[in-house]
Amino acid sequence: MKAAAVLALVVLIGASVFAQVPYRRIASADTDPSSWLTYSGNYQAHRYSALTQIDRQNVTQLKPAWVYQMRNSGIVEATPIVADGVMYITEPPSTVTALDVRTGRPLWTYTPNIPPDVIIIGSPPVNRGVAVLDDLVYLATVHTHLIALDRRSGAVRWDTVVEDNKQGYYMTLAPMAIDGKIIIGISGAETGIRGFIDAYDAKTGKRAWRTYTVPGAGEPGSETWGGDSWKNGGGSTWVPGAFDPALNLIYWGTGNPGPDWNGDVRPGDNLYTCSLLALDANTGKIKWHFQFTPHDVHDWDATEIPVLFDATINGRARKLVAMANRNAFYYVLDRENGQFISATPYVKQTWADGMDEKGRPKVRPGTEPSFEGTLVFPDITGGANWYSPSYSPKTKLFYHTAREVGTTYYKGEADYKPGTAFTAGGGRRMDGDVAFASVKAWEATTGKMAWDFKLLTPPMAGLLSTAGNLVFGGTEEGNFFALDAENGKPLWDFQLGAALRANPMSFALDGKQYVAIAAGSALFVFGL
């Protein structure tokens, strides 16, 4: 009787609450694995599915359920959001399309008016997906608008200009929706912007707070910038972060200082570029920061996904945040205070002789870019990049597509003109048969290697781990594949016909599990 009443209550709550996506539903995403409610699957950014239907035995039977061909050409980096029978995807550069999860048929699509002279310097014109909260779908555009759409029709509820695209500001990331607020970051460090992280009122689009990633004159950290160099200091925030509801802290990575490859014009550590920031979700105030690469001159943005998990270290329960950083080291920090715990190289690197006790790299002399070129590992796109790693609470392993590449780095002339490239150099990446990658699995707490699976060339594709003990990933040559999460053994692969430059995700419909990923200009959904 009592059990029946509880069940009835659950069904009732389900019926009323599941008609929309309230904050508390996203916060408890782990209990609702049929949906995929936020970019990384949960606020802890695990990119892990608790669904078990597809497993090591039956994964060989995976087949396409449906394919959606994008309206626009261009690289598709989006992670779909799935809620209540609808999938929300973005198409390049800034189109949102809602699809019927059952059939793949479009329900509505929305494309903002992007001016033909939009400035996009530093990346292709991509988008990584939407956020959902209550009845709205949130889009961050390349012309620097944050737009809220009605989830039923795609009608615009509000449209807020975040910054001036003419100065080189643009957006490619999926926003992050938390309680009543939409959090976004910005791209544009290659044009010498001053980076920031913003929060907007989810209902009205009014800005709640802005936290610059480069301190202004006189502010703490401004002493790490010579002269006026902070004004074009970069520090983009172009990949979504993570959120700890209990600590009420947002974790967000920051990108390279400007200009990228000639540090002479910006002497100092250049805070808070190439850092992880922990921000108070109510105020945006920086609670702590940790800088991975002080005075970066290799374009090693720290805009990788920060992954939150708890573990016991030396007999003490710790709340941790981990990042497989673009600079080739895997970092574990205390997420309450930013204290450095460990850094472990996960790919070949030639720039640092380890870390001091506070996690500051001991930089090898002669590794900075030069006019004639300096070969350094990792490469200009790093051992990691924007694509996502995965953390399995089941295996306690951290999974990552680790890029094994070097670059000959060039220093160039620093010449700032608003809205134009402010990069001062660049690099020639190793490629061909000497450049490769491996899907690697290591103990999340210690960084100790568990296994690796070699890929022919280094892709820009993320990973999904599942409770079915699988890791899904993709290759530049079009392979969508599944590995055994415990030992890396390849179990299944399927040729999608174009490069996978996206992250996989999983959801369920009518009791059936699916996995989805984009390749080329199409989205593929697979099921048993």
């Binding site: 006019f371 004639e372 160039g412 660049g426 020639r428 022919l456 040559e477 692969d493």
Partner: protein, 252 residues
């Protein structure tokens, strides 16, 4: 009309300081493929009329954006100042001594015919397809590279010249595989991904494998299916053949 006169005017009026500053930029960014002083190598010899860059705007565009479908990357972004210096330096080339060491192209053509080259290479529609087409090889490669390709072909396997395989993988890479049931195949790699590989053997036969079905995959880096002509040709024949290959500029 006015525009083209202006372009010619700009081409002729190079500033000596720009040329001087463009030289180290060129040596850092371009010489790896085009050779020091632009005498060519893996990339074309620049000491000749540049048919793809007849005016400076075209040359600027090539340096800024690369020619990705021709295997030329954009090495890095350049400022307008750096670009002007690079253009000035490239336009100043043309005086460097050619590295074609006195070979006779006409004799080289005969060497090509009698040495069996055409059994594996196409020139102007004629020949075999085991190796790369050579119809316009003289506009793609410098003479030093071509000479080395005759003497030690495995050292200079092409990459980035074909759309397949992509990602600048070595083209015509010899690969030897042994299937789990003991069958051995050797051929040039046509394509590959993490899970499969496609080879073409010397009879032109295509072989496609899933790697999981293979007991052994040996990629023979540094080798070529083409024999070395070091001991088959005299030094002067190599010079003549190099001169002839260098003269192949494709359909006019």
């Amino acid at each position: 009309m006015f525009v083209s006169i202006l372009a010619i005017g700009l081409t002729l009026a190079q500033n000596p300081a720009d040329i001087q500053q463009g030289k180290p930029l060129f040596e850092g960014l371009c010489a790896d493929c085009h050779g020091f002083e632009g005498t060519g190598g893996r990339g074309p010899n620049l000491n000749r009329p540049l048919t793809r860059a007849q005016d400076d705007d075209a040359l600027r565009a090539i340096i800024s954006d690369g020619l990705p479908d021709r295997g030329m990357p954009r090495v890095r972004r350049t400022t307008p100042n750096e670009l002007r210096q690079l253009v000035a330096y490239v336009r100043s080339l043309g005086r460097a001594a050619s590295s074609v060491r006195g070979g006779d192209a006409q004799k080289g053509s005969a060497v090509y015919q009698r040495s069996g080259c055409a059994s594996c290479h196409v020139v102007q529609g004629l020949g075999g397809t085991t190796g790369p087409e050579l119809t316009s090889i003289g506009s793609q490669r410098g003479p030093d590279y071509l000479r080395q390709a005759l003497i030690d072909p495995g050292a200079v396997l092409p990459h980035g010249t074909l759309a397949v395989p992509a990602r600048n993988l070595d083209e015509f890479l010899p690969v030897r595989v042994v299937t789990r049931d003991g069958r051995e195949v050797r051929g040039a790699r046509i394509n590959e991904d993490t899970f499969t590989i496609q080879l073409r053997d010397s009879n032109g036969q295509l072989h496609s494998f899933r790697k999981a079905d293979l007991g052994q995959i040996e990629k023979e880096f540094g080798k070529s299916l083409m024999p070395s002509f070091k001991d088959r040709l005299s030094a002067s024949e190599v010079d003549d053949l190099t001169a002839w290959l260098s003269s192949l500029g494709g359909a006019k």
